[in-house]
Symmetry: C2
Subunit: 628 residues, 2 copies
């Protein structure tokens, strides 16, 4: 423990801190007239013991990479997190009263606007996966002695993602990870499935490979004992199952239903605060922080991105290569260029080809198994700690992690997603394996960079571009082998498209990406034979989009545009182009997959679902004829 | 058992059936030159025992509602499922050789194009939740003695959704549910986390409240014994943990890595088939199906939708009501009108107000707890069995279930999703609680009806419209109370918008929906004062969209359009309107949430993120001035 004093004094200090956390949580939420004071009250002793005895950190330097880490998975208890840092001296207590105001960073749920928050929480069931990622970074990548503490609610432990994280952390033996469940028995709308049956929780967590300790979550000595046991356990993670009462310490509210997410009115709050103040023992002045030992980690800061210059090995007219394969080739090259880069995959590394990365950098490759949510959460934790994670699986299976992806966007993390097997062009496996809504999903996130290369060279370049660009990104790749369109020195940039065919007589503009670029080029040839010259663009960058070039090209051809994509109709490439041209006098014909597809050969399906060369030719002829 | 013969004969019959299933799986996949024969081989005895001894069903009437149900969660083993039904007599064996062809319904992964498939599988970890929904329907709604059997792979049991389903089924005591895990040790790319450690599986499933039985998955007597135990167990579901070998019975392939999803070449296949044929005992001719007892269920067919005519209780100018509240009011009314309607909610029934439905129809309300994926899977199972499930939670948390939603679309299920708390207008809770990508997500699914009402009356009508329209649908609702715009007799229809303001002098068209309709009306008044008449549309139906009215209105105002939505920029209302007007000479200014929002008051946030009345006024003035 941090301070030169007796066990007795420590207990008093932690008791007073817990009381102050309750008082501050009530004051802030009542001032805001909304929030979750009862969810803070159940966790007060847990937070007090962790922040003021167990964790080693510098309260005045929350971003110190050597600090132990606290992840509040039950993000609605934000006020107790804010109170804990204020109490530790990170900022003045008065600021707590700005909770939930538009001019305050003390938001309703924690976000990384605050220096002591790694990842936004508030969508339940995500914090443990994030903690796994941070613990993995400390134990296996930084070899630091940093420890990671996650606080979950009992309601959220129904989320399957929690059990994905649980089994993976145990499989990996992450003994530097210690989670606590604040088992206050009450969900938002009714009691949880397990209420206070701690023995069932214990059996489940032990079966999932964790050391599981049950305690009275309001007993400071029991909590101290449990966390000490966790510290001494070196072979597996520890879960502290804390029996608590929601609204603990608030007369007439404690353990009552219908008090979730409700602030106390001013009178009730005043009464609660004064009765809490009476409990204060005046001991908490004694506390001094427990600073972390500095680790070699800080020396290991990642290199600048200038190193990211490896050249793609593909030659125009050479052997056909799938964009998914080129992604993996590039990622393996990137592994050598940048030690910050890590890769995760969901038991498809022999389809995404990330097994190449594993061969080159086995200690930076993490098999996530069939747990797309946990894979994403781990990547979020790694990104929050300075790594550059690439998380890959079939594009369709990234839909499994959309809630995590959404929170990664809110957290502005430097995380990269790669979806392979985009569209109907995967062929016989059928619709369940086809990524047809991934552009809608990813581009909806306003801070996501979304790249969709057509050939191996551009796919390779896209990987390096995403690595160099800080922030969340998505790379869409395809299954089939396709010709090489670009030489190794071709310049690609985020927000820039490529014009593949162009003349002064062009009658229409074709905008394609990925596999449909080759259909567009075939259509171009057919249209040439018919004396209809068209301009062909490989869009490459879906978001940001090359608005200037699209506008210029659309104007040059007289405003007739045909878009074609191996994606559903809504939210894809066509809509991105329409949006870019929204204020232009253009007429756009959008070709996309308009109904639920089926199994078949790739070529058959491109034709069946209206995105093959003949359909493009017809669309061009139709849109031109309408103008006559 | 079905047939009048000795135990010995039964064993021989089931052994021969298993051998034939292997032969047919090899033949079909080799003919298709793709597929997963080794994943079929590990399950051959399990499928043989279930289909030819345990399950009661009419092979010639796969849609018979009294049949016991089989759900193949490990959808990549489709060939063994198809072989099982062919072997049972549902269709001629020759058809198996059309596997994966574009002209065949025997797709790479099972879809409901086939009469014996309830829900498409192939995205792993979903089948158990679907089975829970079907078992729930049989036990608690139909009170039939139907039993439900789910076959999972071991790799997929890493998916958290499996554990959501597990705990929920046990909590509910669904003893008519029996799942089997085909534990063949090998995932797609490497061994699973648990390989053949059946004792760990057993501990986990027991901790989650199931009867867990471990067997040799290639021993027919052990399998028969386990399923008999399951039949006799009346207090909880049973899981059969079957130790198997991937590629069992294929020399040189059995239990080897790198054989996932690979068809045998013609020579290897021929050798495998001939050695399998040598094992045949010639007993399988003996088999006769085990027909189901008919239940009262057939009498209970749902009523026609003509009954769905209750009137909304809101008056123009009356008390303000939130659209989420109106949804719940309507759903409660619908509960009385239509016994097929059921409701599920993810521990937010006091925010979505589905507690009103629970009050009216407690036996048709199911608390799904914080398990959005399992909630969706249960709803999929219920929909597959003729119910009309409404699954509700905050719009943002439906992203958690996107992979399930995607599979519901592929399955063309009659399932309805309701997202509440859409957009920044929820206020202080902050971005983690704001649904800002739900329109992109839902409208991307080509067969989804997507409605976004602005007031309580239209929200009420939307609920009835979705109930009457067969197929998947989404209703977007908001948190704040808003004025009543429409009288109880106002007509609403899927694919129809409402024109709220109109004159012959209109200079621009405003298209809004939900909360932004009120901002548009405020902008209209301000613009009137400035002598700028505009047309105002409440879009209501995002998909299908009222293309005709939008085109007519855009033309009437000279082609200047401003869209405004409480959603991110990509994939929302604005893009839907742009797409509808793609071939018109229009100029569209799209107002939407362009960056990650934050906590604040609703009004402040609408203004901060550019979708409030003043921003609309500016957008109209700007777009008009550009034309001068």
């Amino acid at each position: 423990m941090a301070i030169q004093t007796s066990e007795q004094t420590l207990l008093k200090v932690l008791e007073d801190k817990a009381t102050r956390l309750r008082i501050d949580s009530v004051r802030a939420t009542t001032e805001a007239a909304s929030g979750h004071p009862t969810s803070c009250a159940s966790a007060a002793e847990i937070v007090s013991v962790l922040f003021y005895s167990v964790m080693r950190y510098d309260p005045h330097d929350p971003r110190n990479p050597d600090n132990d880490v606290f992840v509040l998975s039950k993000g609605h208890a934000a006020p107790v997190l804010y109170a804990a840092w204020a109490e530790a001296g990170a900022f003045p207590r008065e600021k707590l009263l700005t909770l939930r105001r538009i001019d305050s960073d003390l938001e309703g749920h924690p976000t990384p606007r605050l220096p002591f928050v790694d990842v936004a929480t508030g969508s339940l069931g995500q914090g443990l996966s994030v903690g796994v990622g941070i613990a993995l970074n400390a134990k296996e990548l930084e070899h630091s002695n940093q420890r990671v503490f996650v606080l979950l609610g009992d309601g959220e432990s129904a989320e399957g993602s929690v059990w994905e994280a649980a089994q993976w952390a145990a499989h990996r033996g992450l003994s530097n990870l210690c989670a606590t469940i604040d088992i206050n028995r009450l969900g938002q709308s009714q009691p949880t499935m397990l209420e206070h049956h701690l023995e069932i929780y214990k059996a489940r967590w032990e079966a999932f490979g964790w050391q599981a300790l049950t305690v009275d979550g309001h007993s400071i000595p029991e909590l101290l004992g449990a966390y000490e046991k966790a510290r001494l356990t070196t072979d597996r993670p520890t879960i502290v199952l804390a029996r608590t009462l929601k609204g603990k310490g608030f007369a007439g509210i404690e353990d009552h239903e219908n008090w979730h997410g409700k602030a106390l009115d001013k009178d009730t709050a005043a009464k609660a605060v004064s009765s809490l103040e009476k409990k204060l023992l005046g001991a908490d002045g004694e506390w001094k922080p427990n600073f972390p030992a500095s680790s070699p980690r800080s020396a290991k800061a990642g290199p600048a991105s200038r190193t990211l210059t490896a050249k793609p090995p593909y030659a125009i007219g050479g052997k056909e290569v799938a964009t998914r394969k080129a992604f993996a080739d590039a990622l393996a090259a990137l592994a050598k260029a940048d030690p910050r880069v890590v890769a995760l995959d969901g038991d498809v590394k022999n389809s995404t080809y990330t097994e190449e990365f594993e061969r080159v950098a086995p200690d930076r490759f993490f098999e996530a198994y069939i747990e797309e949510q946990n894979m994403t959460g781990i990547a979020m934790g790694l990104a929050a700690r300075g790594k550059v994670p690439f998380a890959s699986t079939f594009a369709c299976f990234l839909t499994r992690a959309y809630d995590f992806i959404r929170m990664a966007a809110i957290s502005h993390l430097n995380i990269k997603f790669v979806g392979t097997h985009a569209g109907v062009s995967i062929g016989e496996d059928g619709p369940s394996q086809m990524g047809l809504e991934d552009l809608a999903m990813m581009a909806a996130e306003p801070n996501f960079t979304v790249l969709y290369p057509s050939d191996a060279t551009s796919a390779w370049k896209a990987v390096f571009l995403l690595a160099e660009r800080a922030g969340p990104g998505y790379l869409r790749t395809g299954r089939p082998n396709t010709p090489i369109l670009y030489g190794p020195d071709e310049e690609f940039a985020i927000g820039k498209c490529r014009i593949l065919r162009k003349s002064d007589q062009d009658k229409a503009l074709l905008v394609a990406a990925g596999v449909t670029v080759f259909e567009a080029l075939e259509a171009y040839n057919e249209l040439q034979k018919n004396g209809i010259p068209v301009r062909v663009i490989d869009l490459f960058s879906i978001q940001p989009i090359d608005r200037a070039t699209l506008i210029e090209s659309a104007r040059a051809v007289g405003g007739l545009v045909v878009t074609v994509e191996d994606h559903y109709v809504h939210g894809g490439l066509g809509d991105a182009v329409l949006s870019a041209l929204a204020q232009e006098s253009v007429k756009v014909s959008k070709l996309a997959v308009g109904s639920i597809p089926r199994s078949g050969k790739a070529k058959e399906l491109l034709d069946e679902f209206g995105i093959s060369a003949p359909h493009i030719v017809n669309a061009v002829k139709t849109i031109i004829s309408r103008e006559r």
